[in-house]
């Protein structure tokens, strides 16, 4: 009896010890900043007269939330995100899935090479990717723009069609990453299931679409979830391009809006309110995607 009790006691301590670092980190880098942002979002800076007396922080309740929601610049950001997601998610995830299926059925020697080659862009940080592509988009420097112009095609990558240019960078960055996830999931499918399907007369395309894809459904839902949240947080690439693109404004995406409010207008309250609302939307979307994913 006594030994079991002691063992239990020891087990409890072990749990506390092993989970403590996680909770400490979680509190320090998630809960605390979130709480601070919530706190900031309830205040605004108030100056008076000509303003040369400096500014004071005054409690303003939900005013920052209302003024953010009323700001067309903030709302427009969500349209940009919606257009971006509508173009990017099917293109990128569809591409990743197609490539994974091809690799899964393809010649084994080439797998390693393609996996590595396709994954490579993901190793490049977003800001650097933005810069690399910027050089390829910028007239006067880009060999691609010059070659297209020689061929009679005048395509302005950074003007009105800048959305497709941003999507292109994101597809380049993320297709390989998601392909690797799908490929790993495909490898885990029991071979006898596939053999059985083949025995029953299913061709490779049919096996891929009817057997393999449904079996890696979990992986697809997970990547979809991450991609939606990632899309909501679109920031790095457009910010890098903002400096030279006529099509991107400082408040192009909700994240950029929050940044511009904080560091352009020094309105930390409004920036915090915008960030909180963006986070809340991401949470709600994640909930529905997960629920929808678990349904069948």
């Amino acid at each position: 009896m006594t030994t079991t009790l002691a063992g239990r006691e020891r087990g409890r301590w072990a749990i506390v010890l092993f989970t403590a670092p996680f909770f400490v980190l979680f509190a320090a880098v998630v809960v605390a900043p979130l709480g601070y942002a919530l706190w900031l979002s309830l205040f605004r800076e108030q100056s008076s007269g000509l303003g040369f007396g400096g500014a004071q922080s005054v409690f303003s309740g939900l005013e920052n939330y209302l003024s953010t929601l009323a700001d067309p610049a903030f709302r427009d950001g969500f349209w940009v995100i919606a257009a971006y997601a509508a173009l990017y998610i099917p293109l990128m995830l569809g591409g990743a899935l197609a490539l994974a299926l091809l690799l899964d059925s393809g010649a084994a020697q080439l797998r390693r090479f393609f996996q590595l080659a396709l994954f490579m862009p993901h190793v490049v940080p977003g800001v650097i990717a933005g810069l690399i592509w910027l050089y390829l988009y910028l007239p006067g420097i880009s060999p691609i723009v010059a070659a297209l112009a020689d061929g009679g095609i005048h395509w302005d990558f950074l003007g009105d069609r800048v959305l497709s240019s941003v999507v292109n960078v994101a597809v380049w960055e993320w297709t390989g990453y998601n392909m690797v996830i799908y490929f790993a999931a495909l490898q885990a499918i029991p071979r006898e299931v596939l053999e059985a399907a083949t025995m029953d007369g299913a061709g490779p395309v049919r096996v891929a679409l009817r057997i393999k894809v449904p079996l890696i459904r979990g992986a697809v839902i997970t990547t979809l979830l991450f991609t939606i949240i990632g899309s909501l947080q679109l920031f790095n690439e457009p910010v890098v391009m903002d400096s030279v693109s006529d099509g991107i404004v400082s408040t192009w995406t909700p994240n950029m809006y929050a940044y511009a409010e904080a560091f352009g207008k020094n309105d930390y309250g409004q920036a915090a309110a915008a960030s909180i609302m963006l986070a809340a939307l991401a949470a709600v979307l994640s909930y529905f995607v997960t629920r929808w994913g678990n349904k069948k």
Binding site: L17, P21, E45, G51, F52, I141, D160, G247, F263
Partner: protein, 435 residues
């Protein structure tokens, strides 16, 4: 047992490290204890030649040492960094602030009132410069340079094609037409939609006045008649494809200078040093001329830096001493311009000969460019003041001017929109404003 204790200690340590990391917000400012050790002044800046000046200061002083930290230029993120640092309580002691942003930082309460400390040097500056750093009867920063407008152009190409240097803006337009005729790919200059400061300079030169304060209230008139005139003028140049539309100081712009596709730059004195360092192979081909005007010689000011002490600096007095030396000591100017990349123009008139002697004008065929700067400096229109929300004004301009070249909007329409934005922003901060 033993393993458990080790794990416990490890997790405690991890916590301690985390907490320490959280608490270490103070940065380096204020760490140096008073005593025999030299006082350290943390200084943020980005202008060319700054490092050389700092080295010269540190070599000449034993009681104060500058710790220079190079940051991105103000509008490229430097101001955001500073505003954030002030908020977080780890701002540098001394910060570079360009004239337009001084009221912005004052109204945020980020700067320290240095009226008493600077009383002795005020008389060295002309009124047109002092009014830019004196707000509400107090002095907030120390002017370093002035930035008179000039036109820097390719003398060789102008002469080869028998194009006269434009004296007025009408001349500039006809010269622009001639340049395009001489070389279909070339243009006389560029419109930089991402650099609204340039538009402000043109407006200033034309007699505009974006901001004024009377009776304790701001008056915003970004769309005043003078600015409207300037906006319509540039809108036509863009519409008629007589100038290139390019981001300022971009790779694209530098490439078109190198390929003889842009023959001139409408800017200020400091651009002379920049073009010199970017375009070394074109040495001897460039010349500096007064900027085109609307009938009588006049100039606005394009940029120009001041040094301000941050509100919570623990080394305020030393920081003021440093700023006085950086802006007013002849040795400082020799060091700054000796680097060869800066063609800064001292706001203190007595120092202009020092600057003129130090800058190597070989790139400009030995031309006395400081003479041109000085003459332009005399014609700067007095009375211009900047508003309390310049970062917002510039962003608002940038977002909209980008859409001019595609025809989605026009420069005059942009003025109207920015005017409305600005009034709203100032009102939103609780300031008194009459549009």
């Amino acid at each position: 047992m033993r393993g458990k204790r080790v794990a416990g200690v490890a997790s405690l340590l991890a916590t301690a490290v985390l907490l320490a990391a959280c608490g270490d917000g103070g940065g380096d400012a204020g760490k140096e204890a008073a005593g025999s050790a030299p006082e350290q002044v943390v200084f943020w800046g980005w202008a060319k030649g700054t490092k050389e000046v700092v080295d010269a200061f540190n070599a000449a002083h034993t009681d104060i040492k500058i710790k220079f930290e190079e940051i991105p230029s103000g509008n490229a993120g430097g101001y955001a960094k500073f505003a954030n640092a002030v908020k977080a309580g780890n701002a540098p002691d001394l910060m570079s602030v360009e004239y337009p942003q001084v009221p912005d930082f004052v109204s945020q309460g980020a700067l320290r009132d240095i009226t008493a400390e600077t009383a002795d040097i005020k008389a060295k500056y002309p009124a047109s410069v002092i009014t830019l750093v004196e707000l509400g009867g107090k002095t907030w920063s120390i002017p370093l340079d002035a930035a008179p407008q000039v036109f820097i152009y390719r003398k060789d190409l102008f002469e080869k094609n028998k194009i006269e240097v434009p004296k007025t803006w009408d001349d500039f337009r006809s010269a622009a037409e001639k340049v395009k005729k001489a070389d279909a790919k070339a243009r006389i200059g560029s419109f930089h939609p991402d650099d609204p400061n340039l538009l402000a300079t043109y407006a200033w030169q034309a007699g505009g006045q974006w901001f004024s304060s009377a009776g304790g209230s701001w008056k915003v008139s970004i769309d005043d008649p003078a600015t409207q005139k300037v906006a319509a003028y540039w809108n036509d140049l863009i519409k008629d494809d007589l100038v290139k539309v390019q981001p300022t100081f971009s790779q694209e712009w530098i490439a078109s200078l190198a390929e003889d596709q842009v023959w001139g730059y409408l800017g200020a004195n400091w651009a002379a040093g920049m073009i010199k360092s970017n375009n070394a192979p074109q040495s001897g081909k460039w010349t500096v001329a007064p900027a085109p005007n609307w009938g009588t010689p006049a100039s606005g000011m394009f940029g120009g830096t001041t040094y301000a002490v941050s509100k919570d600096s623990k080394h305020a007095e030393a920081a003021v001493e440093v700023a006085k030396w950086l802006t007013g000591a002849p040795e400082a100017w020799t060091a700054r311009l000796g680097s060869g990349t800066s063609s800064s123009f001292p706001a203190i008139a007595d120092l202009v000969p020092v600057a003129a002697k130090t800058f190597d004008t070989g790139f400009y065929g030995g031309q006395d460019i400081y003479q041109v700067f000085s003459e332009a400096y005399q014609t700067i229109k007095p009375g211009w003041t900047w508003g309390p929300s310049m970062v917002q004004v510039l962003t608002s301009f940038k977002d909209r001017l980008g859409q001019v070249s595609s025809g989605a909007t026009t420069v005059p329409d942009v003025l109207t929109a920015v005017q409305a934005d600005t009034v709203e922003e100032i009102k939103g901060r609780g300031l008194a404003v009459t549009p």
